[in-house]
């Protein structure tokens, strides 16, 4: 099957007074229909520029973006505007029209598409119902909380029945609980409407929460991409490792000790590996961090262990984990 989005050799260079900035360099990836595709990177990695290349809000300096097999860059202005109605976008700062009521905000894309007013209002009310804000139809954005604003933005973006939804740091301005509810709403939209979602974020937790596939951006380049479980278990690049360990900066900073990150895929979570290793090596290991996450419906565990001082025993432990088929990473090797 043809991918719904194909990014082919896309680059974007900005020309500023103090020289040129290559924000995005030769990026290639495919997004399949129905995926929730994450694009993750530290700030300044070029994520926002890349996502704007997907609906041509930024014109790529090189390369092409295909949506349903059609190259967006080759469409005439009018066709491009039409194509954009099929690619919704939500933003970190919601970008609602402040002088319009909630209902009129949701009607806005329908007005652009030339839908009759009565019909637009009816559809807008249905969508507000979907996002759970029907009773706020007459309110103005200034009266809403951040989470509610993002819900309005989601209702607005659904108005044109898009096939693709781009989310540019859509939860970065929200508290953890609201983030969770918005991510659940996005999941629901993906499941029930079959909308392909592209999620731009700097938070690995967001990717782990909803994405099926992920691309890691590092200084404008695509560091690696693939299924989220794969990245979680066996990150191949420094950039990916850094992002995975970002939350553990305090642990990583403890110098002088050898630390490893062990990941448990699916069934290995049932084996008492830690107990076994302590019995086998007759040395205690210190667990600095442990958690289980559900990624794509599978339980994935991760643990950060402090190894004993003895190099011999430490190596033995690492070897043991590897033999058991667990993911093992030296933590210190990728502390930035």
């Amino acid at each position: 099957m043809e991918p719904i989005i194909r990014v082919s050799h896309v680059s974007k260079t900005f020309y500023a007074k103090n020289g040129e900035v290559e924000a995005v360099k030769d990026i290639n990836f495919d997004i399949e229909k129905g995926d929730i595709f994450g694009i993750i990177g530290l700030s300044g990695a070029g994520k926002s520029t890349l996502v704007r290349c997907l609906n041509l809000l930024e014109k790529p300096s090189g390369g092409k973006v295909f949506v349903n097999g059609k190259s967006l860059g080759d469409l005439p202005e009018k066709e491009l505007r039409k194509a954009r109605r099929n690619i919704g976008m939500i933003f970190q700062h919601f970008n609602l029209l402040m002088q319009r009521s909630v209902l009129d905000n949701v009607c806005f894309p329908l007005e652009i598409a030339g839908v009759k007013k009565a019909k637009a209002r009816k559809r807008a009310m249905e969508l507000l119902e979907t996002v759970g804000l029907a009773e706020k139809a007459g309110a103005y954005p200034a009266q809403l909380s951040g989470g509610q604003k993002q819900r309005v933005a989601i209702a607005r973006v659904l108005a044109n029945n898009p096939e693709i939804l781009l989310c540019d740091e859509a939860t970065s301005a929200l508290d953890p609980q609201t983030t969770k509810s918005i991510l659940n709403l996005l999941k629901e939209i993906n499941r029930e409407r079959g909308i392909t979602i592209v999620v731009i974020t700097h938070e690995m937790s967001v990717v782990q929460e909803i994405c099926s596939h992920v691309a890691v951006l590092d200084h404008g380049r695509l560091a690696e991409s693939g299924a989220v479980e794969e990245l979680f278990r066996t990150p191949k690049t420094e950039a990916a490792k850094k992002l995975l360990l970002k939350g553990f900066a305090h642990i990583s900073r403890m110098k002088g000790e050898r630390k490893i990150r062990v990941t448990f895929a699916g069934k290995s979570a049932f084996e008492p590996v830690i107990g076994n290793i302590i019995l086998e090596c007759k040395t205690p290991v210190n667990i600095l961090y442990a958690d289980t996450k559900t990624i794509n419906g599978n339980a994935e565990g991760e643990m950060i262990l402090q190894l004993p001082d003895s190099v011999e025993i430490a190596d033995k432990i690492v070897e043991y984990f590897q033999k058991k088929g667990l993911g093992v990473e030296e933590v210190d090797s990728y502390v930035g």
């Binding site: 002088q99 806005f108 652009i112």
Partner: protein, 220 residues
Amino acid sequence: MWDNTIVKMLLEGTGATLYMTLVSTLFGYVLGLPMGIVLAITDKEGIKPNTFIYKILDFIANIVRSIPFLILLILVIPLTKAIVGKSYGSSATIVPLVIAAAPFIARMVESSLKEVDKGVIEAAQSMGAGTFTIIWKVLLTEARTSLLVGVTIAIGTILGYSAMAGTVGGGGLGDIAVRYGYHRYQTDIMIVTIIILVVLAQILQGLGMMFSKKLDRRHV
């Protein structure tokens, strides 16, 4: 001195001043609003950047604004004659008033439109909105409070200019103030005209601010 003729004259003067101010503001916006919109969208940060058009309008706005109003008043007499048929009186004053006000209005419109959140414009673009839709439904609507504050400022400025035009036979309250207060040393009449001008300015200012506040949905 407060006989009927004087009162009638002051009333007529007030009427003439209001007429000049409001009609000039209206035509000032007929010219200045489109000019301001074009300035805002053709700027390099705008939605249709075009350095050439921007530079031309920018130049015109700067030139006209740097000519003192009294000089402009005299400078455009041939044009005034061509349009109105004579170079004195309230209607004739409207021509230089509009010419002086339009670039000033354009600048205020430009700055109001540039205050509109770039993110909202981007959102509209992502929905497939064209330039005209963005101008009409995003820029002008989102900036309406600021635009109305601009109208209020424009009216106040034009009111002041119209009084100045009185010195060269423009009619209205300024004309009365000069003729009676300056040429005939009737300070009391001059003071009354000044009071009327101040009251007019206050009323117009108050109304403008009230409307702009009423239409603002950002603070509720």
